[in-house]
Symmetry: D2
Subunit: 467 residues, 4 copies
């Protein structure tokens, strides 16, 4: 899958009660780097003052001196990794967003997307509100500030009762850290413990790096507040059917993480195995598109009995500043990322497993690349169903028009890719890989078009229209 066409909507990390909280947050964000590479920020507090630092680029590029972290004082902090968008000056969209309102200062970091943002924002603008970012996260802060409730948790409850859609949220005030997750639980959010401190993160891999222990997920609909008095949990919203994002399993989450109560790598391996059962292939070898489909490829190999080979090498040194050569090097953007291993491919019937196909552009180049490297046949297998509908819950997908799965039949896509065969996993097959008792726990909207919440007319167009 081409990272350039599909992006995750951010990584969150928070800690309360540990010395040098900003250092831990830095490490947590580093472990969550795969969830967002455009910008990074940390807001910390020592109980009296609030400190913040944000910047564009990888965590390591933003926090590039010990001094920056030392200035982020205190034993509590939240941090955020942001996904990449176009526009050189989008620092304003980097999170956490820190505001001053009647009760003092408040920071928020958000993973997800609101589906009634347009309505809420229009209503607020009509009343005279101003917005400095294009993010829907700012709306939540307005709602909190406008709430007539007293305590911060109540204000947040009040605010969240008005929003719809997907949100995993971390708030930081000087005296408390609050974590919240929407009632459908679209995005993951895990709670952990590091000594006496509490930690919260989008994925458990952030806990592993700092040596924290996974306790449980923040529950869908739960609002968890951590202060010097300890942890308090409320679940103020009516229970709803869950809608865990199945795409987290398929692509986004790191395989060493546990999300939604399951090990990502296990699901991912089962996806590959199930794919092999559903869409077998007469082939000599099976290869992955590294690294995102590595685990599914092992599953396909196990399921099919076809041996795994490493047929594509991924170059990990690609930076932000790559200079595109003037001269015509065909399919340069695919070549700069992947190189085929000719000795492995020559005269072989090859199954190549990818996790998904978005626009099909890179997939097409990969097939061409494999064939040119000597593959006799290329059987493309995808460990998820065709993506037919955009996500409105926090994944930055192209429009329906650009989604190849929305506009072409599988046969047509096969021809487009130039593959000898093409096989997608079925929706049922995909859902069968989870051990969760009720499979309707998952949001499969991008594959099925069945959105678990009403979608406002203008959802997702906020960015396009306003800027």
């Amino acid at each position: 899958m081409n990272n350039k066409t599909l992006k995750e909507a951010c990584g969150l990390f928070g800690v309360f009660g540990a010395p040098k909280a900003s250092e831990l947050t830095y490490l947590g964000l580093y472990a969550l780097q795969h969830r967002g590479q455009e910008g990074s920020g940390i807001v910390s507090s020592d109980g009296e003052k609030i400190y913040d630092y944000k910047g564009m680029g990888l965590v390591n590029d933003v926090f590039n001196s010990q001094e920056i972290l030392s200035n982020l004082k205190g034993d509590r902090a939240i941090g955020h990794n942001r996904y990449s968008t176009t526009g050189s000056s989008s620092l304003v969209n980097t999170q956490p967003i820190l505001i001053t309102y009647k009760d003092g200062q408040l920071a928020v970091a958000h993973n997800g997307n609101l589906t009634n943002a347009f309505t809420l924002r229009s209503r607020m603008e009509k009343k005279g509100s101003i917005f400095q970012s294009t993010s829907d996260s700012e709306i939540i802060l307005h709602l909190v500030a406008q709430s007539n409730k007293n305590a911060l948790v109540e204000k947040i409850t009040d605010a969240l009762s008005q929003v719809q859609g997907a949100y995993s949220l971390l708030f930081l005030a000087d005296n408390q850290l609050i974590a919240a997750r929407d009632p459908k639980g679209f995005r993951p959010l895990a709670l952990g413990r590091l000594g006496k401190a509490w930690v919260v993160a989008s994925e458990t891999c952030a806990f592993d790096l700092i040596g924290a222990k996974y306790v449980r997920d923040v529950y869908p609909g739960e609002i968890l507040s951590v202060s010097s008095k300890g942890l308090k949990s409320i679940s103020p919203f009516p229970k709803q059917k869950h809608a865990f994002c199945i795409f987290e399993f398929i692509y986004f989450a790191r395989p060493d993480s546990k999300i939604f109560g399951e090990n990502v790598d296990k699901i991912r391996r089962r996806l590959g195995k199930k794919l092999a059962e559903e869409k077998s292939a007469d082939a000599d070898i099976v290869i992955s598109v590294p690294d995102s489909s590595n685990t599914a490829t092992l599953g396909y190999s196990e399921g099919s009995g076809i041996k795994t080979e490493i047929g594509l090498i991924r170059n990990h040194y690609i930076g932000r500043t790559f200079i595109h050569p003037d001269q015509r090097i065909r399919d340069f953007d695919a070549k700069i990322k992947y190189n085929p291993v000719k000795g492995v491919l020559r005269n072989k019937k090859v199954v190549v497993v990818d996790d998904s196909i978005v626009r099909g552009t890179t997939s097409k180049k990969l097939v061409k690349m494999l064939k040119k490297a000597g593959a006799k046949e290329v059987h493309f297998r995808v460990s998820s169903p065709p993506i037919k509908s955009p996500c409105f819950y926090g994944i930055d997908m192209p429009t329906k028009e650009e989604l190849i799965g929305s506009n072409k039949s599988v046969e047509q896509i096969k021809k487009h890719l130039g593959a000898d065969s093409l096989g997608y996993l079925s929706v049922e097959g995909m859902l069968s890989t989870s051990t969760l008792t009720r499979k309707e726990n998952f949001c499969t909207a991008c594959f099925t078009g069945k959105y678990p919440t009403p979608i406002e007319k203008n959802t997702g167009k906020l960015v396009l229209e306003k800027r």
Copy 2:
């Protein structure tokens, strides 16, 4: 005067109707660099979209590639230079501030300071407003967005009718540029013409660089809107007695600028001449503290008949990253900026002219430096009266407690500095240098404590309290 203790509150530049407006704005900001060195920003528009770019540092450091300027498309733009404050992460305070509100996008750049900011902000916060910066400029945007008026000019009028204090403002929407100046005219703002385009700038030196012609000042209390239909001027507020900041003449403005209808260098020379008349000295030579008192020194020389010499050399290479040596070099911060010319000073009775004394720290070091270099006597002369009260109209001064002129008599200051004599210009002498018919046109609050507007209890504390 030590730049580190007294800072100007920003430089403004705007243009409407010229191709590559952002390039002109870049040049204008460069010419206004002396009004703010911490950060810089430009917002431009091509009539459809709004583009923005901001960063920390000098204009040249922020806009360090042609690409950045090329991305700021359109024939209209506004820009802002910000003065230096503490805190590494104050990018959020860099201007222009760009917001989205019910009518679309709006950017503002502000020079000055509101004196009822605290009240306005508290009132807004009570209603649920949020603030992302610590600047009072954000308040103005809230007021504009909350206005029930229809046209943008009306909304701005509505907003400005609620604020008190000092403001020279530039607004940019996609279809117009609006310049406004408070009814007392604290801060300068000039209107110019470049071919068919209109330009606006804090000082006329910005016009010179781009070859624009000075037309007139934006009048105190005037709101000027420029659109494709041309220039429109309204003066919706009741006339008030003017209160031009006399400190602009004494220190801030470039001597090659014309502000408040007068050539800065002429006033500055007269200040020196008047000082010589009032506070003569039995001396061999008169020297300046370069570069800010160069012109006043010439005036002093003319008035006193004592010949001018260059007795202090200023090092212009000081950058932001100067590494303070670990070892004890006495009075390092003064030495790194100034070096005495021993051959000039040795065995001489020296008059040293400075434009003002704020805390007295650097002045004391200078006297010591001059004596060590061989000066037989050092007669300190200041081309302005003692600074006794902080400014609430846009100059970032220390508190009253830190102002040496507020706490010590002239005799005590003389002793503190170690000078053989000390002479300040009188308030009357200072005012006599202007050719403006009514001398009460000037704000002299920092010298006299007579503030031309009511000052709210918490004015100027916004920053300290909130962050």
Copy 3:
């Protein structure tokens, strides 16, 4: 294997006869990034002038603007990636080295290490020569400049007849590019064709990216000159038994490259398979230490029948500026690179395949990490024999004292690592994986201590002693 303890001695790329040669060289160096990450440089020529640019860091960091490449004019160029050393100011050691001598300008890029450098350098210094770098490559340039021969190829032949050890070399003068390889062929060097242009590279993966075709290796002992008159080959030195570096197969070369006439990935897979035959294990799963042992792990799985799993996730975002946390996070340097996949490991008997063990530090941490993640047993398998002796042919290894394989028995190492069993591949097993007819073609000195050339007393100490 811990990248921090074992480093490759550089990547080379050259091209003659293609427009924008520096762009191609940039791409070639990018594909060879794995052979050296500390610094990078390109020297180009348009037939009249010579242009050069060098810097510290990754290829993308050094060549970070189109302008830099555009300034490197001409249709011929050579480039070099350098491995990482200590010392902040080692730019002087970055290559290509460009000199002026009696015939004009000459640049050289070198992969390898001379074993009589100390003698040569001492002899030259006695005669009054000066050295600006600590690299032995500078010696070669001195020898060329001191040669009494006429043509450049002859001078180079003359020079190389005096040096011993390992060298793959690229020279660039304004009118020709010369490639040379030592008679034993320690380091790889491949010749390719891109349209009418000739290209040379350390590994064929550089050809793939630019679409060049592999023609053949530069032969051991061959000196190849490319000019506007075409290609000329001479082999002026007596034939010697080859001594291809087997460590290139084990670790350094990219699996998608062909070196020494063989596909790297095939050898690597066979190493794993052979290891499985020699050192079986009673285990549930086999995992790799990504990414260097991925292919060998597949081989082990094939050979043993134990299924492959992904048990360690590697973080690819590690940059040069990583801030080491102040607080005690145990085994931080291993954790920051690898995270175990608990779901895969829990209660499993695990074979972990690594390509080599140098100091054993990281291996020990990995075993601990795997056990902590729940592995019931950890069986460490190494797809090469114990490293017992340092390399004097271009690989930057620790001293004999620091090599764990030199000081401990396999049983002792097992205990040190805390593994349940430890198995190395035998030397015979390793050599059996090559299809080359004569197995004594390989240099196995690091495993066997049998150096294929005499080693001067001070070889490899040049750097240590002189700087």
Copy 4:
């Protein structure tokens, strides 16, 4: 004078016997920044090891972290500021040059230019020497290394006995610092004391900053060695008539420095006064081209009785990255540096004093600028004679063809500039300003064409021919 056409050949600083020698050297280089802005370097030693760091840019840009200075350990160090040349990759020419030779490591920093460099270099190249820079300083190191003498001072004496031309030199070995100055004393070099440590610098302003005391000049022809045993001085060369560069007084040296036994500012003031006597003008005001002619302007004012005004404001914020606007702003490069003060100039007959005219390009733009600002008449006065011949002793001047004084009569130049009158100081007038007893002590070659040494045919062409 336009800084872009005339550049100084470097600043030197050295210290022996003071803790944190590199910090002092950093400060010394900072004070000497005006002598070279392209690159900067420091080599230090703790008596055992040698440490070095070099980079492109201002001293503050190169040494931009405390860590860099901390790594330059020891109580002895030398540093160098380099002037600006073309070519992006001239880091290789940055000094000090550090080499290894038979006796260990040796660093050199050089101010000046050898006049037999071409012969020496050709002779060395014929013998097989290689050169990595285009600087003649490398030649000196070759000669030292090739010397058969024993002690380093003897080797250096041996080397310098073979070179001709201008050199002020600092050498650093681990156990000593050696300063040397050519027998004619072209370039300045001063000796000072800081507590028990010895310091050496191109100009005394470097001593002032660190609080060191000026002791005396390093004598022409002297070789001074400083070691733990103290100071030793030898003067091994036959006495020669001195040839102090008079251009140091006219332009290069800082006015607060003492060089060649005289205060720079005093000479500079006398130059202006003498100019007034020789080339009077019927004018209202006299202005300087800041800052280089400020002092001469005071002298002109004193001599003529015409009052000084500040008629041009110089912008000190120009950085290296200034983006030249695409659109046609006439005479942009002059405008970006200078802005006329209209109020001062309008309807005035103006004398403008500049220190020299090189190509005349900037002078012409200045005249135009002054007239456009309202000056009724512009009388151009130059405080030195017409520059007719290039310098071969260390000042980077344009060729004879480009020197306007070499190709046009004063009348023609006046017309070219568009000035109402033009007056240069006479050679005799210039020489009369020195109090040194024998006026033939000065090199006036650039004004008179009388070179005090033989000039080899190819002198100064080294750079042009070789690169």
